[in-house]
Symmetry: C2
Subunit: 214 residues, 2 copies
DNA sequence: TCCATCCAGATTATAGATAGTTTTCTTGTC
DNA sequence: GACAAGAAAACTATCTATAATCTGGATGGA
């Protein structure tokens, strides 16, 4: 069949650039010039501009009217802000998702936690961590809320990759298991409390070295 | 003087379309066709497409890859979702803003409440209401949070204008004054509790008539 | 005979490329 | 340090291609 992808080029560019920004391959504060990006992707700058708007909405770049776009910074303040927003919104989502959680979803979440334990690098751990959160939150059936949470998780991942690569994993698996245990017992209050603390833990920043603002 | 605005056309189009959608001049569910909009504004379709991306980020329209964009619906579920998100985020913002609130800010907020009392139509009331919230929240100095809240308030206004035009105003001024009183006394817990209830009250929907989904 | 389904052509709309204009930044000169 | 000329980049318009939708009509079945 070899059906043409039918995915607009703008979407592809925005995905690719988002990945690079999150991975830290594009430095914070650096300018993105539409012609250069266009040349690199072998397209014109028109879809590039649309991709920029998308990244702007995700909070990965900021744009000034006639002066181009630049990658957002990764300061400690921004990190805390995002962590607190995540905590507030994920608690809300979990509160609505809890009544619709099934045994099989909880089992899948358990498996995601184990995958996080087995993860050898940050990327794999982050993916497992995000899968865990998505699993227990998406049954809330609130699409706008889930989209916001997803954008915030992307931004969180950016901090994770940018700053410190050592101290992931250890306490999170405990938190994940505590959340699952509370959910299995129907103790929603305990589950949301642990979730809030767990998310904000990420926002506490590095214990030893500063967050490598490039 | 008379400096050319230097505001990109895309920004102007997105503002104008957002106003119309919020005001209910463009029906929920109707399609927006880029070259029609372009003809109306006397431009090409390129800035129109960028405006669409902006509206999509604000949650006013939804876009399918090669099938165009259409105005989001205004169901009761979406309304509740937005109200709950607002409650969660505005409480967070107030918690961080409270330490930085000054006497003059509270006085201005009081004045905004009075302006809401005096408002003769929904538009004026909505503007005063939004000014009140912005005043007491913006000292939190969390730009990303404030942007999210602003988008949610825009969506709220849409429901307000779309569905029912009778029952605004009455209880809200009481809530606003209760929030201000609690803030003046330094009772942050009471202030956030009233704020959360107050915001979710909007999400309760019309008491008598259904929300006029067009 | 009437109705539903499906297909081909025409029409419409989205998406992207190319080219030109305007604004901003840079560099060289006084 | 200020200013002007040049370069670079953002922004928009026009044109083109590709995908989706709509129309009419044919076919098959009850």
């Amino acid at each position: 069949m070899s059906r043409a992808p039918a995915e607009p080029i703008a979407a592809r560019i925005s995905r690719e650039l988002a990945d690079r920004i999150v991975a830290g391959q594009i430095a914070a504060g650096s300018r993105l010039r539409q012609d250069h990006v266009a040349v690199e992707f072998g397209t014109s700058h028109v879809p590039v501009r649309e991709a920029f708007r998308r990244l702007e909405a995700q909070g990965l770049v900021e744009s000034e009217p006639r002066r181009g776009v630049r990658v957002c910074g990764v300061s400690l303040d921004e990190m805390r802000e995002i962590a607190e927003m995540r905590a507030a919104l994920e608690v809300l989502a979990l509160r609505h998702a809890a009544p619709h959680l099934t045994q099989s979803i909880l089992d899948e979440a358990e498996e995601a936690t184990r995958a996080g334990d087995r993860a050898g690098d940050v990327q794999a751990w982050e993916e497992a961590n995000r899968r865990f959160h998505r699993l227990i939150l998406s049954p809330c059936a609130m699409p706008r809320l889930l989209r916001s949470i997803d954008d915030l998780q992307t931004a969180s991942a950016r901090f994770l990759f940018a700053g410190w690569r050592a101290e992931w994993e250890t306490p999170t698996d405990r938190d994940h298991r505590a959340i699952l245990a509370a959910l299995r017992e129907g103790d929603l209050a305990a589950a949301t409390a642990v979730l809030a603390r767990h998310v904000q833990w990420i926002g506490q920043g590095p214990k030893r070295r500063p967050p490598l603002v490039r």
